[in-house]
């Protein structure tokens, strides 16, 4: 006789009338399949934990974002923010979709070159560009977004020694009505510093000012902040045309669109609070079109959207290691997924979803990772069905920042898989082994 599936027995007290602190119950469904691949099979084949990316979801999300902007504005160009997820396979999906690269270090720049992005399509941002980095970028005609005056003078120096004319933009920071204001990057709009920088560039006669850039922050839930940012950059563009007769080719509004993940402490889930691409696009494009920029001078709109393009495409699959009662009687479940590989659990209350059917009974549960550290908490308290050792879970919306900010701590980093458009899985980053880690180490003779 076929036996029935076993579920850990449990009981919970029913509180009368009062809604629980989890608010209204929303029914969660197990995630048993990702793009036609059984979660169970993926774990059997690639191990647990394992990151899984859906190429279909990446392309679909990108096309949705692109449509939101191109239906409202004539010239739109996206640039993939490498730091968000710089696995080569991921970058190449975006590059195939016609997306440029946006990099913030010599390392990321090198990755973009190796991914066959042509130099003039690699936007070089950030405060950390060495003189050698800058020389290479200038040689390749890459747009350099200047962060501070030291960098500006360094570029002028390089330009004086060569016959190449550097293509530059300045990064501008500004008040857009949101807190915190990211004022440590670029030149300030309100106090006139941005104009200072623009004047020096124009008067140097050595640089080609091709654009204006801002990145107002990340996970910006207000589309109005973008309306203000676009208006302020448009104002600078108009001023440049009036004062110098100079027309910039593009206005770059950076990244920062919210994804649908749940921010810690937020009252409503991210699916309810994140503005849609249409809302952001409407705010930005109407602000540019309604500005004083002459129609014939309308600049290309560049977007460096990161997390909103990739978060939904990433999944982290894992396994229950154990269940425990805490001293106060609360249930805790320990997973093989720790904060070392799920860095975003410091900002997000991730959904943790069973990968097999479960009963509708749930219990307040703390979800921990496997590290011997008190900080290794994925969720302090979630309404969770009773899973048993060996059961699988899926954490969704993990595509952004985890596969770059993860750390090799106590355990090693797992396999990363991409499932292609035909639902075929491929390893795109091998799991680390002890050899991977110790190959970087050296033992001095007296310790051998």
């Amino acid at each position: 006789m076929e036996k029935f599936a076993f579920e850990r027995p449990f009981i919970k007290r029913l509180s009368s009338g009062m809604p629980s602190k989890f608010g209204m119950k929303t029914k969660i469904e197990p995630i048993t399949v990702i793009d036609d691949n059984l979660v169970k099979d993926l774990i059997n084949k690639y191990g647990s934990p394992v990151f899984v990316l859906s190429e279909k979801t990446i392309r679909k999300t990108f096309q949705g974002a692109k449509r939101a902007f191109t239906t409202r504005y004539p010239k739109v160009q996206f640039a993939w923010s490498y730091k968000t997820n710089y696995l080569d396979a991921v970058c190449r999906v975006f590059h195939q979709e016609g997306v440029w690269a946006e990099v913030v270090s010599g390392f990321e720049y090198e990755k973009a070159v190796r991914n066959n992005v042509s130099g003039d399509h690699i936007i070089f941002n950030g405060p950390d560009k060495s003189k050698d980095d800058l020389k290479k970028a200038i040689l390749n005609d890459s747009p350099i977004h200047i962060d501070h005056f030291d960098e500006l003078y360094c570029i002028i120096d390089i330009a004086e020694e060569s016959d190449k004319i550097p293509k530059v933009a300045i990064r501008v920071n500004m008040d857009t009505g949101i807190y915190p204001q990211w004022d440590r990057f670029g030149f300030n709009y309100e106090n006139g510093e941005a104009w200072d920088a623009l004047n020096r560039i124009m008067l140097s006669g050595k640089l080609d000012l091709i654009g204006l850039h801002t990145h107002i922050g990340t996970f910006i839930l207000s589309s109005d902040a973008y309306r203000q940012a676009a208006a302020k950059l448009a104002d600078l563009a108009v001023g440049l045309e009036r004062k110098y007769g100079h027309v910039v080719k593009y206005i770059d509004l950076g990244g920062g669109f919210a994804s649908k993940s749940n921010l810690k402490g937020a009252y409503l889930p991210g699916t309810d609070t994140a503005p849609s691409f249409d809302e952001y696009a409407d705010a930005i494009t109407s602000s540019l079109i309604n500005s004083q920029i002459k129609p014939e001078n309308l600049p290309t709109l560049i977007l460096e959207t990161g997390r909103a393009l990739i978060d939904d495409a990433g999944y982290l699959l894992g396994t229950v290691l154990a269940n425990k009662r805490l001293a106060d009687g609360r249930r805790s479940t320990i997973l093989d997924i720790g904060v070392n590989i799920l860095f975003t659990s410091f900002w997000y209350d991730h959904s943790i979803i069973p990968a097999q059917p479960f009963s509708e009974h749930t219990e307040e549960t703390a979800i921990y990772g496997p590290l011997c550290m008190n900080i290794d908490v994925l969720r302090e308290a979630i309404d969770f069905p009773p899973l048993i050792k060996g059961d699988h879970v899926v954490i969704n919306r993990v595509g952004a920042y985890n596969m770059t900010q993860w750390m090799q701590f106590i355990t090693m980093r797992p396999n990363v898989i991409i499932i292609d458009g035909n639902n075929k899985p491929f390893i795109i980053r091998n799991k680390e082994s002890v050899e991977t880690i110790i190959s970087q180490e050296k033992i001095p003779p007296h310790l051998q």
Partner: protein, 98 residues
């Protein structure tokens, strides 16, 4: 495992079988009402089945045997989850030590 070894264990070292409080009401759907406190509880299917056995004063060994026959679970895992469940019942004061 201890209970599989045919050795003599003095009664006082044996794990006691637990008795459910006499007057509590259990419904088939896993709803429990404790009239002495006015509190109610809900359980999943396996929990309900175990409580039914406890109501019939079945011993742990008997319960384990029936569950292992019916469900996809090994003896060690069952024992672990069983005692954890009993623990919860004790915390919720639905069980009395005999």
């Amino acid at each position: 495992m201890v209970q599989d070894l045919n050795i003599f264990i003095p009664a006082k070292f044996k794990r006691k079988d637990m008795k459910l409080k006499k007057n509590i009401a259990v419904s088939e759907s896993g709803f429990i009402f404790d009239p002495s406190t006015g509190e109610s509880f809900s359980m999943n299917n396996i929990g309900t089945e175990i409580v039914e056995y406890l109501k019939q004063d079945k011993s742990f060994e008997e319960i384990k045997k029936s569950m292992l026959e019916k469900y996809e679970v090994d003896s060690t895992s069952f024992e672990k989850y069983y005692y954890d469940f009993i623990n919860s019942l004790q915390q919720l004061k639905l069980i009395v030590d005999e």
